[in-house]
Symmetry: C3
Subunit: 207 residues, 3 copies
């Protein structure tokens, strides 16, 4: 569980940096950058906790999120141009964050006695809606809706979790396997630029 907490914090750090980068590209001032970093990093879990009535919500109950985000913003402020050269490291952190956020969100919802389908949705909200809120606040169409197999990876990992959990595997094993599913699918999808289908005129019409 300790390792998972460390991964959660690393994921928060990576999400906060991704938010800070978007905000600084938009020429936001320091406060704007902090708010966007904050929303990106904890927005998904915050929405989940409000929806399932889990109070205190994530960042109110644990100040480590706040400090992590603040450090991430300072880090971005200091090393913005260097971070570009760390894109592989950042992608790794980010992907690990997605995996961990999905599974922790799913676990939390299950622990509140919610239906597995709802838990699956909550896992995905945890991983995805930080980025959605970031894009809404910076007045862009959320990236997640257009590209990236991101949400599908979370879904696949979440389903893996539920299946392994159903068959009674030990929690750590479940967590590692399911997180790996998410990380691998996302990495493969990004590498090969896989995308989900879009709705054309309709399925029976030639385009």
């Amino acid at each position: 569980m300790n390792l998972i907490y460390v991964l959660d914090i690393l994921g928060t750090f990576a999400f906060a940096i991704s938010g800070a980068l978007v905000a600084s590209d938009k020429r936001f001032d320091l406060f704007g950058v902090i708010i966007i970093a904050f929303v990106t990093a904890v927005g998904g879990g915050m929405l989940r906790d409000v929806l399932i009535n889990a109070h205190p919500i994530n960042w109110i109950g644990d100040l480590n999120y706040f400090w992590t985000i603040l450090i991430a913003v300072v880090f971005t402020f200091l090393f913005k141009s260097k971070i570009a050269h760390l894109s592989k490291t950042m992608f790794l952190f980010d992907t690990v964050g997605i995996g961990v956020f999905t599974l922790l969100g799913l676990e939390k919802a299950l622990s509140f006695g919610l239906h597995p389908i709802i838990a699956l949705i909550m896992g995905m909200i945890s991983a995805v809606f930080g980025g959605v809120l970031r894009d809404v606040l910076t007045n862009k169409i959320p990236l997640i809706f257009e590209k990236e197999i991101y949400a599908s990876a979370c879904l696949a990992g979440g389903i893996t979790y539920l299946i392994l959990n159903y068959f009674g595997f030990p929690e750590n094993i479940i967590f590692i396997i399911s997180a790996s599913v998410i990380v691998i699918i996302r990495a493969v999808a990004v590498k090969f630029e896989l995308q989900l289908p879009k709705i054309k005129d309709d399925l029976f019409t030639k385009n």
Copy 2:
């Protein structure tokens, strides 16, 4: 009450299709379409339930919303070009949805002991904010703010409900009359392109 539940589900179906159509016009991928359909269909009730602290919130407490939305997305995927020819049917479902959402939201707020004015607002939030959230997520100015007498119809229907309720009419009668008020006002307004006034420079200035 059973009929009302059926109408609620029909309204959810119509709202989900309207969301799916907007999202597919924006070239969102399958996940994006599902999310927008979901938010459009249950976003208003979700916001209401979070604001009045009614947990579990609508779609968490009843999985039928989830399945209805999923079916609506599949339906849109398969028959997108045909739906255009069903615009009258869709408009009917949509308008019925608006009426039912308004009144169910109002009733729920009253059953939580809230002031009738708050209940009226909650009814309108239930009917209107799904579309607002859809527009925010697809980066458009919410339609409701610019055109359509939509919200006024909900308000008139809600006030009708409260008055009839005050005089002790039976619930079913109240529901049918109030819903009819909403449906008729909206249908007439759309047919004759009625609009609410806008704020000009000021009322005492000629334009």
Copy 3:
């Protein structure tokens, strides 16, 4: 406490007018204007109350907010062109509103037993997020992220509050001094067009 309540209502009035002005510039209809005025005036406190689980939330628990906003919209409708000449009065109301919203939000969070850092954030959310929601709903990049020292003034006032509170000063004194800090910083910042720094390429790079 009575004076503070009056200031809270005055601030709500000023915020509602600012929202109504933005909405009428966007050519929204009457309902759109009311919704934007409403969200601008009570959106920050509403978000705070949802996040800290303080039910009934601000405007549900006290209908005076609703009436104040309605009067503000009517006032804007009638006197739009005159309000332009009242810009100093409006700026004063608005700034007092920011100060009062910050401190009342902070106090409320403290009274819920939350950590001072969280209380500080809640104070800022109370003062700032009404405007953020207004901008999101009117499809603009939130002003707060780009200009205006607004949030910094709230932060400074909030920290002043916490320090004076720590040393046991009487509540009224604390409130007046902290609110003055906010009002003065904002007034000075607007007068001299002070801004927070932005993230350049990075701190060690010449621009």
